[in-house]
Amino acid sequence: MIPLNYYVLLSGILFTIGALGVLLRRNPLVMFMSIELMLNSANLAMVAFSSALQQLNGQIFVFFVIAVAAAEVAVGLALIVQIFKTKHTINVDEMSNLRG
């Protein structure tokens, strides 16, 4: 018997690690991977709730999240490739064109 809270706590830890990845790493690809990790942690919590409530809706949601994540990755990676083509670097700390 595993308490639901364990899953939620695990999900929270994974989410925080993902957030730290976004905040600390300067490689946009790793940042992107961290975002995927955050999505994944949310998926985990969702499936856990679905299982606890004996309803399939949560799993359906996860299904859609995975599909959207796939689309996001396709576009996001294309953007990174395009940025590299123009700037010849992908270091996010060298990009501050939006500075006010």
Binding site: L20, A74, V81, D93
Partner: protein, 173 residues
């Protein structure tokens, strides 16, 4: 300590460790490989929670397709490692403090606010996987038909967008 709980704890340790490995690796390729491990572990959690379809999707789409794409791009751009820059010196300590605060908050909420801790029963072994899949399919194609079709459009748009973005410009260099 039941077998379930032991299994959970082992898997949880692997998941957190692989996540930290992704976070801390100097090399982006290692990060990607740690993430694949993390995804596979999460897929195992899905199986434990009685969601075999999601688990399969996780392995094939995430751990398979998406991460292969990541690795492909990392190697294409040669972006395994990046040199240090002097900007944003306060970013790292602030981020760590905030992340700790987030963890503390989540833990506090789980302990203090959550009512009776519900226990998750193990997936009934008697469940017919075929019946489960039929149930899932009926929901997808009846109740969630519109989002499903919209998702397909989204994927098409993403595909077109990716092609347009990476295509060489007309009369380009």
């Amino acid at each position: 300590m039941t077998l379930d709980l032991i299994l959970f704890l082992v898997l949880a340790v692997i998941a957190v460790a692989s996540a930290l490995g992704m976070l801390l690796s100097r090399n982006a390729v290692y990060s990607a490989l740690f993430l694949v491990l993390n995804f596979v572990t999460v897929a195992a959690f899905y199986l434990l929670l009685g969601a075999p379809l999601i688990a399969m999707t996780q392995v094939t789409v995430y751990a398979g397709a998406i991460m292969v794409l990541f690795l492909f791009v990392i190697m294409l751009l040669g972006a395994e490692q990046l040199g240090p820059t002097g900007v944003l010196p306060w970013q790292r300590p602030l981020a760590i403090v905030l992340a700790l605060m987030l963890i503390i908050e989540i833990g506090y909420l789980l302990i203090a606010r959550s009512p009776a801790v519900s226990l998750l029963s193990p997936p009934p072994s008697a469940v017919n996987t075929t019946d489960f899949l039929r149930q899932m399919g009926e929901m997808l194609f009846n109740e969630y038909l519109l989002p499903f079709e919209v998702t397909s459009i989204l994927l098409l748009v993403a595909m077109v967008g990716a092609i347009v973005l990476t295509k060489p410009e007309k009369g380009g260099r």
